[in-house]
Symmetry: C2
């Protein structure tokens, strides 16, 4: 039937939603969540119906995603008819019922997700069913391939193409800023794309952005890689595996992450990686808690890599405390730049040369770790980083002191003597975010102690940096409440881990960073 288009001056976050009042919906014969085909001139598209009880009769309300696509003007007549539910919904239902999905079924789902034919409700149910029923490796492979197929790819026409990825979960991990230039300095190609923080205080893209622009197009990336063999760019706007961005929107509130493997590997496949090292930080405060879980995940990555034609090796790394001392975009960039210039915290340096070494050995270079160390010590890696910074539009001569950090600062001192028994990653993350990171690039935390360090009463445990006093004060308050650094004279003094039901309930944080 013919309805008047009422254009809403609003986007629906990419969703294709049409608003009808009860009566008009009933006349067309659709309910909330049903689909309608909206036909205008020679074009049409399918939208998901939302019911708004006080919406005018015989109108169809259209968010900008639809009106723009159909080139509609307010008040124009469109033909609206009930549309079949997408085929993908049948496969979503099959997964809810615990069935294994076939390749073509998964392709249909991913295509319909990207083309916005599935609603939030349907995607949420799919994600939940995947999480509960688990995925077979065939399903994971099909998901990875479908996610690559429905997005853009970076075609460098070179081989090998190296890459590094961390599954995340440990704060302060600026290792990529060292690894990329080490690899690129050997002449090997490493086009590194990174994400921005979602639930953490800094993603690699946030860190690098304090050194140079990271928001490059695919063409610009090709230029940078041609010049320098490497890059450190934000992958978010490149349309690599765009299904993942939609899945993440749904996974985030649910705090489940069943698509970890296809999500990471589809993005690596999309940039054409042939050799990939995956860092799996492991420990009580990390995303992966135990060595056993890390090993299982590692073999899944390796298996999936083989299926996708990628050589994958994994490094299970110590994840029980932050990497280096700095947490927060600018603080971390500063620490990374100092590190590549020769003044590195031991753990950051050790992690970087180990991972770079694995990558080098994967492409046939002997004594990879020693070679990586040489590239770092000789200043070759530093010069390469500067070349990359310049190629991306930054200043070749940038010095650590040029990087602006928050001018509001406070030192948190120890209230007793003891040895650092634990540093709670999750609390560190919360305090850094409370201080303003990642939005306030200069905000964050600088640790003054790490695990095992002997501390005297009054010694500084960590500093909080912020750009705004209100944020600083909020972070201080949170730090006092959470006490992220645990001290004790002896391990034996700390036997009681939890009291039930009297234990204070802390906010459970979910790490979505991949």
């Amino acid at each position: 039937m013919k309805l008047k288009a009422k254009l809403l001056d609003l986007q629906a976050g990419g969703r294709r939603i049409a608003i009808l009042d009860d009566e008009t919906a009933s006349l067309i014969g659709v309910h909330s969540s049903d689909r309608v085909k909206i036909i205008h001139k020679n074009e049409y598209l399918v939208a998901i119906v939302n019911i708004a009880s006080n919406f005018p009769h015989n109108y169809i309300g259209l968010y900008q995603e639809i009106s723009t696509k159909l080139g509609l003007k307010d008040g124009e007549l469109v033909e609206v008819e009930p549309a079949e539910r997408p085929e993908a919904l049948r496969y979503v239902q099959a997964k809810i019922h615990g069935e294994r999905l076939r390749k073509n079924e998964i392709e249909t789902i991913v295509k319909d997700v990207v083309e916005r034919h599935l609603s939030d409700i349907e995607i949420a149910s799919f994600i939940t069913a995947l999480y509960i029923h688990k995925l077979s490796m065939d399903e994971i492979e099909a998901l990875s391939r479908a996610m690559v197929k429905t997005g853009s790819v970076l075609s460098l026409n070179k081989t090998p193409i190296l890459d590094k990825h961390s599954v995340g979960g440990v704060p302060g991990d600026k290792t990529s800023i060292l690894i990329v230039p080490i690899i690129a300095a050997t002449g090997l190609v490493i086009p590194k794309t990174s994400s921005r923080a979602i639930t953490s205080p800094a993603g690699t893209a946030d860190r690098v952005e304090t050194l140079c622009p990271v928001n490059l197009t695919i063409e610009e990336i090709k230029e940078v890689v041609k010049k320098t063999n490497g890059c450190l760019v934000w992958g978010g706007a490149l349309d690599l595996a765009p299904a993942d961005d939609i899945f993440i929107q749904v996974e985030y509130p649910l705090a489940i992450d069943p698509l970890l493997l296809p999500s990471i590997m589809s993005k690596k496949k999309a940039i054409g990686a042939t050799h990939l090292v995956i860092d799996i930080p492991t420990g009580r405060g990390a995303k992966i808690k135990t060595i056993g879980a890390a090993n299982t995940l590692a073999y899944d990555f390796i298996d999936l890599g083989k299926r996708l034609g990628m050589d994958v090796q994994c490094a299970v790394t110590f994840g029980e405390q932050p990497i280096g001392y700095a947490i927060g975009p600018a603080l971390e960039a500063k620490e990374a730049l100092s590190a590549i210039m020769g003044k590195s915290p031991a753990d950051l340096r050790e992690k970087a040369i180990n991972l770079a070494g694995i990558l080098l050995e994967m492409v046939g270079i002997k004594n990879g770790k020693r070679k990586a160390e040489y590239l770092l010590n000789s200043g070759k890696a530093e010069r390469k980083l500067r070349d990359i910074i310049e190629a991306q539009g930054g200043n070749w001569k940038i010095m650590p002191e040029d990087i602006e950090i928050g001018d509001k600062k406070v030192e948190i001192a120890s209230e007793k003597n003891g040895r650092v028994l634990w540093i709670n990653n999750r609390y560190i993350v919360q305090i850094a975010r409370e201080a303003g990171a990642p939005k306030d690039k200069g905000a964050g935390i600088k640790l003054r102690v790490k695990l095992g360090k002997r501390v005297k009463k009054g010694d500084i445990l960590f500093e909080i940096y912020a750009e705004r006093t209100t944020k600083l004060n909020a972070a201080i308050e949170l730090a006092k409440k959470l006490q992220p650094i645990g001290l004790s004279k002896k391990l034996e003094e700390r036997m009681l881990m939890n009291r039930i039901p009297k234990t204070p309930v802390h906010k459970e944080e979910f790490t979505l960073e991949r």
Copy 2:
């Protein structure tokens, strides 16, 4: 931080949604799906954030649900700050992880669903997790109680209060229109609330609405019951167990129904039922396919009834074909009125007196079925139905021929000789809906044959009624494609049930009616 309220001239279907652009969201420190507290004068409420990338900075877009509640004017300043996620989300996550939920956890979830603190994504995930992990009887009881607690109740201050419910799935089931007056004619109280069709061609409320008004308030219902001992009203606007309406919104696109038991029983508890008969239509074309499944469900109903202080008995009824001959609101009302006046199809009559008989025996009346039969045959039930119709605002003298049915009609004839081997309920439903039911009250199907009937080529199998020619034509076309009535000389001639992969794919329909 202070933001300008931009009031949207639109409802969000009851949802509490606030729109922010990326940058403003980032300044507040929230992502899509996070919560914000919106403070205005001395009031506040919590909304779920949606991100719209082209939304103006420093504005917060508010759907009418929020702006009305806070009494906001367009452009007014409101204080917006990040809010904690609702506690319920933790329990939703626990259910995703397969944990059993405790009573207080379920109460929290249901309360947050009704108060719109959970998003569609979160509710969809909860429903999916419930479906996959199943619910314990403790959880079902807690859900039922919480759903009653968060809604209105009908307090009649009488006992016993009888009720009847069908889990649905068989078309043409107008049995309630006979049972309610039979029971009420004995002086027993039976305040029957019914639903409108969601996926079927007619709900009892749709049927009765062609006889008299059904949209009564709780006070009006009390009046009707006081006068007549019974009623036949629409339960949808009474706010009985409102959580269910929100759950249904989510279950409908997913075509899963894990809340069948609490959904039905909470509504029965809310009207104060003490004695309840549950009809479980069973058969290939019904919602419940096998006697085994029906028995399991029956014992669950009985168990849940005990827990909720209700005496429950179940009737597993033959559900392999429609009840009576008429399908569609007016056609069914007409058939029911004729039936109570003495001209009933055998199955409708048999079903009504059996179910009414069970109810009568539950409150201590001997020979319930015979008593029900007497009330039907003597005209007492008919007079009671007329009293109820009048009390609800209809015409006491209404005759079957007064009920308007669609004036567009076509007869579908058999193309061969044979015996009716099957009548596909799902196809009958689809054709009736295609003809316009339930919206067009006069639309539907009138069967001319039922199972076992011998048919000659050219005999009429069924008639299609519609109010509009376009609908009639669409229904005829669908009827020809679906062939809802199967004929064969002998059963042995029909051995091949399905061909894979060559079987034609029919639209799978989901029955949500409860």
